[in-house]
């Protein structure tokens, strides 16, 4: 409990110091709005079908935006060393970093989801299920951001690498093209991406159809992604500390 509280303090500090800044909030909101407008102008009738994808993309971009650079940045300014000097386990530090990013992702996604769902006239079938998908996805994506952050040495490398993951994920998660109509071996790649299960879970909740897996499978797989990506990040973080400190 004490460790969770300390992780929350790290997340709260990160929110204040990095996330809740006008440039990051406006970028977080503008990107999905621009995507939604582009989809709407291209095919006004199909906007309902792409709404789960838009919400998933919002989660992906907002939850990974700062997470991908936060550790590298704090290492550079010496603040990571201060965190490592506090009586905290490395898992607490990493969880705190992921939590800050996930909370920012949830905030942005909540604003966008409410606006889009209301604007296109969709209704959420099961609010608790919807929130579960959003929370698990925000954690999975923030852990992915942290994984990138612990794997690179420079801030620009983090930006490049995160886009290397994010953009192909958007095209392969079934938002633009149904997974069933993708040429082999792309469907296999799709099933290995967390965003696929975010979009599928949201499709269940918004009843837009075109689902590829049962709802509980989506939740289970997203939980597994959170666990796996966090564990991998932790291993890499510990290795990096041993090498660099």
């Amino acid at each position: 409990m004490n460790e969770i509280k300390k992780a929350y303090f790290i997340a709260k500090k990160d929110m204040g110091a990095y996330y809740l800044k006008p440039p990051l909030i406006s970028w977080g909101l503008m990107l999905p709005v621009a995507f939604a407008l582009a989809f709407y102008l291209r095919n006004p009738a199909g906007i309902k079908d792409v709404t789960p994808g838009l919400i998933g993309m919002t989660l992906l971009f907002s939850s990974t935006s700062m997470a991908a650079i936060v550790i590298t940045f704090e290492k550079r300014i010496g603040a990571l060393e201060r965190l490592l000097l506090a009586p905290l386990h490395t898992r607490t530090i990493l969880f705190g970093k992921a939590l800050g990013s996930a909370l920012f992702g949830l905030l942005i996604t909540f604003l966008i989801a409410v606006a889009i769902v209301a604007a296109v006239g969709l209704s959420i079938k099961n609010v608790i299920a919807f929130i579960s998908v959003i929370i698990l996805s925000a954690l999975a994506f923030s852990c992915l951001g942290i994984l990138i952050s612990v794997g690179v040495k420079e801030v620009f490398e983090a930006m490049t690498l995160s886009n290397f993951f994010r953009f192909p994920m958007i095209f392969l998660c079934g938002v633009f093209l149904p997974i069933s109509s993708m040429p082999f071996p792309l469907p296999i790649v799709s099933y290995l991406l967390p965003l696929t299960y975010t979009v599928d879970g949201l499709r269940h909740c918004l009843s837009t159809g075109g689902t590829v897996a049962p709802f509980w499978t989506d939740l289970l797989i997203l939980s597994a992604f959170v666990f796996l990506i966090f564990s991998l990040s932790l291993l890499m973080f510990k290795k990096r500390i041993r090498q660099e400190f």
């Binding site: 300390k6 550079r76 300014i77 010496g78 060393e81 201060r82 400190f245």
Partner: protein, 324 residues
């Protein structure tokens, strides 16, 4: 008073480079222990191993009874480290930084703000409490970094080159804070390359060169080791380039130190060499402005013990990065 720090055969290799070479020492509770050496001597690496930030290649240390390699979280609860670079969060204000540190160290919610305010008052930072850390001067940043380190009432304070890069007044104020902390019963481990700083602040000093400890003793005892050396200091109107070489060729001179137009001679016997020194100067046509005989200080002892030039100790390390 018992030992609160025990260091046993601590060694660190970076690749094939030996940074810290099998060092061992103990520190008593309430003691100010100085680690004195030039840049690159392994002082920071030692401190980082002692606080559980860097894994030793071999050997270990116990801090307040906790093994630094196996019980790092417990070690960190009892210590505070002020690193060479003031590394609080630039975006947060002085008060927010202290409260955040209090949160991380598990200080009770109702006590956080009170303790932070007390420290701001004590360190003369009250009027700066709402300024972001990045807007503070270097000296104020240093003070706040030390204040943040004391928020959880550590038993042992580690200070890595605390006055490096500070102006004279800030450095003096900081030294006073260190002495005040000692009066409150804190054990202090201090690294420095400023010999006078070590002499003023420390109860005992370990002289460290190339990762090895050359001597551990009180400043008085270290100075006593060179008691037999006599020192003659001569002030000149100018300093001809070839004078040092000429003087070094005289018998009975151990070492010559030059500081602008003053020359300090370490000699075995003043009676035997003083005449020859003065004669050499007269021959070169230099006017003597002053002549003094001095007792050896810690700098003289350091030079004698390490064989290093004292100028080496005056070179500040270039501080990389960090929100200075």
């Amino acid at each position: 008073m018992g030992d609160v720090i025990q260091v046993q055969d601590l060694t660190k290799f970076y690749g094939s480079t030996l940074a810290v070479d099998h060092i061992s020492f103990n520190i008593k509770e309430g003691e100010v222990f100085g680690f004195l050496g030039p840049n690159g001597a392994g002082k920071t690496t030692t401190i980082r191993m002692m606080v559980g930030l860097t894994q030793p290649s071999s050997g270990t240390a116990w801090v307040d009874g906790h093994n630094v390699t196996k019980e790092t979280v417990e070690v960190k609860k009892t210590i505070g480290l002020v690193p060479e670079t003031s590394n609080l969060y630039g975006e947060l204000t002085a008060l927010e930084n202290l409260i955040y540190q209090a949160e991380l160290y598990g200080v009770l919610r109702k006590e956080r703000r009170i303790k932070a305010s007390q420290l701001l008052e004590e360190f003369g930072l009250k009027e700066h409490q709402d300024k972001p850390f990045q807007k503070l001067s270097r000296g104020l940043k240093r003070r706040l970094t030390i204040a943040a380190t004391l928020i959880h009432h550590p038993k042992i304070l580690f200070l890595d080159e605390p006055t490096t890069g500070l102006d004279v007044m800030s450095a003096r104020g900081l030294r006073k804070l260190i002495l005040d902390s000692k009066k409150k019963g804190l054990t202090i481990f201090l690294t420095t390359h400023y010999i006078p700083e070590a002499e003023t602040l420390c109860d005992r000093i370990a002289v460290v060169v190339q990762g090895k400890i050359r001597i551990i003793d009180t400043p008085e005892n270290i100075k006593a080791q060179v008691k037999e050396t006599e020192i003659l200091e001569i002030g000149l109107d100018r300093l001809p380039e070839d004078l040092k070489g000429l003087l070094l060729s005289l018998d009975g001179i151990e070492k010559i130190l030059i500081d602008e137009n003053r020359i300090r001679f370490h000699v075995e016997s003043l009676n035997q060499v003083a005449f020859h020194i003065l004669k050499s100067m007269e021959d070169r046509g230099v006017t003597i402005r002053s002549i003094n005989t001095l007792s050896p200080n810690l700098e003289d002892a350091f030079i004698r013990l390490t064989g290093l030039d004292s100028e080496l100790m005056k070179i500040d390390k270039v501080i990389k990065g960090g929100p200075e």
